[in-house]
């Protein structure tokens, strides 16, 4: 036996470049050359758009109390709540207001606490502080620095903006000094624990602020929202509250000489706490700015002065964005599940068809590094789905929003989000991302199971059934489902924004998701990544 005498055959061809770009190209060719798949992908996008628009057509707001809350609107045109007790003077041009809050008490009124509900000790978002406001007209521009029972010192302006200052609650032993200074359209908020060391909290620019504004002290006491989703449906319990605060060391610079403090209620809120009925059985018909506690009516806020101290109280007001309970846009966007099921089918077929036809063996001979095949497939199916869904959503969402507006859902609460605004991006790009992640999840399931029917059913059950169950189950397990399953990504389709400074009970029944939109999306991405990892591991270990 002699070795080395036979030269093994070598192809004269150059070896193919081991290039991921070529792999992507070949996987893209496989996708686009199956005509049914291309048609199905475009059809999925078109169907989604049509479904969303059609649903918006039948999502009438008529008869739904959430559709037209008849709220006042703020400087940005958004619906706001603007009811509070205001002790104020005119401020000409630049100047500042300073006050020390030495006490803030808050409690729930007893009248409407239902049996079985334990009233909370205080409303964590009750507000007492200094404010500079364009006028006493509800909805006008403002900036305020305030103490709260549960969230420390805050600076808030023009309803939707909120910045944290010093933490902790107010007491006589640990008072809070608050200050606002105006310079042109710019208002800067400061807080201090001792009145000599001041910290800037934030700066607000209020466009078009008139030269004469109202500056002073305010107290607002929002409703406490109790309750949770139960089987019987929506169990939403708003409880009326009252708050009182003691201010001293009040200083106003830039006020008119000789002016005195005026006090009054901003906004026409009336609070009824307790049974209302004829014949003196309950509360009389409430008048704006009044509150009925027990059986007698009294003003909804008040001021008493002793020496340099101002005691200001308020029942049931708030200065905040109006947060809708219902989410018609979110409901209408559930129409995307038609396209979602189609892309799940395509994602699974993209790999199971190779097993069925035996093409997988050719694929793996051409690219022996198997993990890269699945990675390339995931990129191709993810990108194609993303582009198709993005186009569908960018067309469908604005049309659906306008249809909802004309169907009775007022634009101040349910606006048409600009496609470049943060919320517009969340809905449109988020929806496209949701479909792309679903396609990758389905590809992975198809690779693991190698059968299209099983893979499609598994992914549909994982993605869509949690949404259905979350409406039937009680709050606790419903929240868990929407946090942990891939359905968490549907949070990106929430149409009504949530504000952390407004108390709200998030119920899946109302289309609310327990996780923030992009957090929920990340949960689904984690599922897809884990599934793809498992698929790559199994593809490398098993025979094809």
């Amino acid at each position: 036996m002699s070795t080395g005498t036979i030269t093994p055959y070598r192809s004269s061809q150059q070896p193919g470049r081991d290039d991921f770009g070529h792999l992507l190209l070949s996987e893209w060719t496989k996708f686009r050359s199956v005509r049914g798949w291309l048609i199905a992908m475009i059809g999925a996008a078109v169907l989604t758009t049509l479904a969303v628009v059609a649903l918006a057509g039948i999502a009438s707001g008529k008869g739904n109390p959430g559709a037209d809350p008849t709220n006042v609107t703020g400087p940005g045109g958004e619906a706001v709540t603007d009811n509070f007790y205001f002790v104020h003077q005119s401020l000409d041009g630049n100047g500042s207001i300073t006050a020390r809050v030495s006490s803030l008490t808050s409690s729930v009124l007893p009248g409407q606490v239902p049996v079985g509900v334990t009233p909370p000790g205080s409303q964590p978002w009750a507000k007492a502080g200094v404010i500079i406001k364009a006028s006493t007209k509800p909805g006008s521009a403002y900036a305020a620095v305030m103490a709260t029972p549960g969230h420390g010192v805050r600076m808030q302006w023009n309803y939707t903006n909120d910045t944290a200052g010093l933490p902790g609650a107010v007491s006589a032993a640990s008072p809070r000094w608050l200050r606002l200074t105006r310079s042109g359209d710019t208002i800067t908020g400061y807080d201090s624990a001792d009145g000599s060391h001041w910290t800037e909290i934030g700066t607000a620019t209020l466009g078009g602020l008139p030269s004469t504004v109202q500056a002073g002290l305010f107290v607002a006491s929002p409703q406490y929202i109790s309750g949770a989703q139960s089987f019987a449906g929506n169990n939403w319990v708003p409880l009326n509250t009252q708050a009182a605060a003691v201010f001293d060391r009040v200083g106003l610079s830039g006020g008119q000489p000789g002016a005195t403090w005026k006090a009054g209620y901003v906004g026409g809120l009336s609070v009824v706490d307790g049974p209302q009925g004829p014949g003196g059985q309950g509360c009389p018909q409430p008048t704006p700015g009044s509150v009925c506690v027990g059986k007698h009516s009294e003003p909804a806020g008040g001021l008493s002065r002793s020496g340099g101290a101002f005691t200001v109280s308020d029942y049931g007001g708030d200065i905040a964005p109006y947060v809708a309970i219902t989410d018609p846009l979110g409901t209408v966007l559930k129409g995307t599940v038609i396209g979602l099921i189609a892309v799940i089918a395509l994602g699974a077929l993209y790999i199971t068809a190779e097993y069925r036809r035996g093409l997988i063996r050719t694929t793996l001979v051409a690219t022996p590094r198997r993990g890269r095949v699945l990675a390339a497939k995931a990129i191709v199916i993810g990108a194609v789905t993303f582009v198709a869904a993005l186009a569908g959503a960018a067309v469908g969402v604005p049309i659906a929003e306008r249809k909802l507006n004309s169907g009775g859902w007022v634009a101040s609460v349910y606006p048409v989000w600009s496609l470049t605004s943060a919320h517009g991006v969340q809905i449109v790009v988020g929806t496209a991302g949701l479909l792309a992640v679903a396609a990758i999840l389905a590809l992975s399931a198809g690779s693991v199971l190698r059968r299209s029917a099983g893979a499609i059913a598994a992914v549909v059950v994982l993605l869509i059934v949690p949404l259905i169950l979350s409406v039937i189950l009680p709050q606790g397990p419903a929240d868990l489902l929407l946090r942990l399953t891939p359905a968490a990504a549907f949070a990106v389709q929430q149409g009504t924004p949530q504000y952390s400074q407004v108390m709200h009970t998030c119920m899946p029944y109302n289309g609310c998701f327990p996780e923030a939109p992009w957090t929920g999306f990340a949960v689904s991405c984690a599922w897809a990544a884990a599934a793809l990892g498992l698929a790559i591991y199994l593809l490398r270990r098993r025979d094809a």
């Binding site: 999502a59 009438s60 019987a232 869509i464 169950l469």
Partner: protein, 261 residues
């Protein structure tokens, strides 16, 4: 043996020798009874005493039906993907006989597995619910088939699964491709409850969709309380699902009869 009986025997042999059948039936039982058990474990009385405990115990059917749909789709489209359909039709040239045989075998298998799933769910509810406070004191009787409405809900759920199986079989016969069939089937099953559970659609449309959606109408059979508030009564609801099933089987039969395999 008559040709139909022979065909039934052949279909039974095919179904029981495919490994996916056992897995899917196991999935049906585990999903249905498991989800039903979890759903009954998380409710507490007196917080939610008015809950329809029978319907709650049978929540798992909502997931279990997906396994039934896959099984039924594979019975037909599995033959198209492997080419087996040509052998089947050579052996049983009367195509509708072959479809009827498949339907009979599938119905039998799903009725048995569905009965096991339903029984498992109700047994779990019977033992778990009293521990969570659902006792006679609050008007919640212990789950028992002796009660008329519970018997209707239980037997109706089994029938529901059988109708879903036949519906999927009809659809798969018409579409032939397993991926397309299961996607369309699951879309029909899940989209209507998803849309109508959230209360922002126009109430007339909501009512209409719930009345005609195969899942929402068919599962009305599970209700044992507040029947007056249902969009459609229990038996008429199951009747709506039967109409969908009959329609799908009819289209499937026509396609099978007229088109080349």
């Amino acid at each position: 043996m008559s040709p139909l009986l022979e065909a039934v025997h052949a279909e039974w042999t095919k179904l029981r020798t495919v490994p996916s059948t056992a897995w899917l039936l196991l999935t049906l039982v585990v999903l249905t009874a498991g989800v039903g058990t979890l759903a009954t474990a998380v409710v507490k009385c007196p917080a939610t005493c008015s809950e329809d405990t029978t319907k709650l115990s049978l929540t798992g059917i909502l997931l279990g039906q997906a396994a039934v749909a896959v099984l039924a789709v594979l019975v037909m489209s599995g033959e198209y993907s492997s080419g087996m359909i040509r052998i089947t039709l050579t052996a049983v040239p009367r195509r509708l006989t072959s479809l009827a045989a498949k339907a009979i075998v599938l119905t039998g298998v799903v009725l048995v597995a569905g009965a096991v799933s339903t029984a498992g769910s109700l047994v779990a509810g019977r033992y778990i619910l009293p521990g969570n406070g659902f006792t006679g004191a609050y008007g919640s009787e212990t789950l028992s088939l002796a009660a008329g409405p519970t018997l209707r809900a239980a037997s109706g759920s089994v029938l529901y699964l059988a109708l879903i199986a036949l519906f999927s079989l009809g659809l798969a016969t018409a579409l032939r491709d397993s991926g397309a069939s299961i996607a369309v089937m699951l879309g029909l099953l899940y989209i209507v409850p998803l849309l109508t559970d959230l209360g922002t659609l126009d109430s007339r449309w909501q009512h209409r969709l719930q009345e005609w959606g195969p899942t929402t109408a068919g599962l009305a059979i599970q209700a044992t309380r507040n029947l007056k508030t249902l969009p459609i009564g229990p038996w008429p609801g199951l009747g709506v699902l039967a109409l969908w099933t009959a329609g799908a089987l009819l289209v499937g039969a026509l396609v099978l009869r007229l088109r080349d395999a």
